[in-house]
Amino acid sequence: MLDNIVTAIEALPDLSPERRAALAALLRHGLPSTQDEDWKYTDLLALSALTPQDIAPNIDTHEFPEGYDCGLDALNTALAGGRQARSIEGRVELDTGRHGRYRLTVTDDAELLLDDSGAARFATCFLAIELAPRARLRLTRVLGADAEAHRIIRLKVSVAEDARLDAVTIDLGGRFVRHDLDISLDAPGAAATVHGLYAPRGSGHVDNHVRIDHRAPHGASRGFFRGLAYDRACAVFNGKIVVHGHAQKTDSELRIANLLLSKRAQINAKPELEIYADDVKCAHGATFGRLDPAALFYLRTRGVPEASARALLTYSFANEILQHIADSALRTTLTGRFLERLGGDIDIGMLR
């Protein structure tokens, strides 16, 4: 299944020994299969549909590592042409719609926008972000990719003492998408809040795996996720909280709510808790539903046509997440795009 990828990389001019090593590591490790629990619902065989042109690796511009811990890691490095390391502060934007590999450090206060407008058919983008003690990062990741986009995005965030991550992730498109968000609360007082919305449509497949590790006492995490699936789309969500042995006084909450908007759509969502400390507060829950018929009827008795009533209720479900996008211009744009796809004649002017 890796033929197309090997062909694309080998077609690069002046293939460096480092690049060859990454490719060799990829072939040695292989890619995860649906036998792996973490990949149960997402089959990487989908990548074999890509042509070597679709795969479009970057040329070598950055550092290559000594070794690789898994096939995907090697794949990303081989495609991205190495890794960029930099420190960020203030407002920074990165395009995750092309192959990339980054190591970012935040020592003070930063706002990071990971945007993917979706022009490329395939992109892998792996980011490792380190928050220094007392640092603060507001992270927004948006996937508005078109219906044919294939994406593998991995974000690892480590949070030091009294540092804080506030993240919002929005997935509105794509054909085959896998996102991993790993957050490690490494020191006392580290905190993370994540709001996520995933809304695949058409025959899109969007898989989000979120994992939060509490590795030190007095850490706090909040995860609020909402999913909706239209048409024949498939959404996968796995949220895992791990409280390690000495992470006493951990305060954690994970809520997942899902809305099925079509009979043929499917959502596989699961919260998981692993707790190895005894003095902790961990709450979690997952719900699945359809639009509330009583609310629909109520809106219709006030004169709102059925299609608009459905759109308004769907919007209100999603807005519980959308409203957390800090950048108001971006929030307006994404809300508008979301409403447009709902149809039902509800526009953003009406919601002001």
């Binding site: 009827f297 109520y298 809106l299 219709r300």
Partner: protein, 247 residues
């Protein structure tokens, strides 16, 4: 204005309305009273277009049109309003957005232009004041976290904003303290007009002290079993509903 003729309706296997007939003329206020389970709420919901019930026979005409052939939204645009016994909470949709969506959707269906934002705001704010509600409620979710009384007040606020021609109020008085009952009654009375009609569905007489009905009907066993003037309501309050079954 409203003519209900020999209406039969079921929910699941159970027949709730068993030949109900009722006529309400423009300008009139009618009260429909009756014991629990007599079919009062069923009647209200069927008038608004609920799909929970199946009308098996009979007819409902509103201004001569076949009401049963219209969707709930078409009925609303035609001027039918139901004040819910249990108003629904819609977190995430603010009262303001809800009112704007409703009013503009009705106007659109009637071929009228949408209201300018400023005019709409003035229109709503005036009525919020009239209902003695906190304007801050407009930015809260529809009925979200409202007390029972606040929800009922919100129903009347919606009614004042939408200015319907037939007001069907299902147990709007339940759960109201005396001050709220007065405010709600004033709201209802403010819309009384020769071109409008009101159907008050209630279990108790006390609302009728504030909103004087022209006709009082007793609904029992899915049919109107007795009709009379306002004095009938007081008689029911004294004697209960038991004597009707005996009669």
């Amino acid at each position: 204005m409203l003519e209900i003729h020999n209406l039969h309706a079921t929910i699941g296997e159970r027949e709730i309305l068993k030949g109900l007939s009722l006529t309400v003329n423009a300008g009139e206020v009618h009260a429909v009273m009756g014991p629990n389970g007599s079919g009062k709420s069923t009647l209200s919901k069927i008038l608004a277009g609920s799909e929970d019930y199946v009308v098996t026979s009979g007819s409902i005409r509103f201004d001569g049109r076949d009401l049963l052939g219209l969707s709930p939204e078409q009925r609303a645009a035609a001027g039918v309003f139901l004040g819910f016994q249990y108003p629904v909470e819609i977190p995430g949709v603010s009262n303001m957005v809800f009112l704007k969506a409703a009013l503009n959707a009705q106007r659109k269906q009637r071929g009228e232009p949408e209201l300018e934002a400023g005019d709409f705001l003035a229109w709503v704010r005036h009525r919020v004041k009239q209902m003695k509600m906190d304007p801050a409620m407009l930015s809260r979710g529809v009925n979200e976290g409202f007390s029972g009384g606040e929800k009922k007040r919100n129903e009347i606020l919606q009614m004042l904003v939408l200015e319907p021609r037939l007001m069907v109020l299902d147990e709007t008085d339940s759960g109201l303290d005396i001050d709220a009952l007065k405010i709600v009654s004033e709201g209802i009375n403010a819309l009384r007009a020769p071109t409008r009609a009101t159907l008050l569905v209630t279990h108790y007489q006390r609302l009728l002290d504030y909103v004087q009905p022209d006709v009082v009907h007793v609904l029992s066993g899915g049919r109107i079993v007795k009709s009379g003037g306002p004095e009938l309501a007081r008689e029911l309050e004294e004697k209960g509903y038991g004597w009707l079954d005996a009669a």
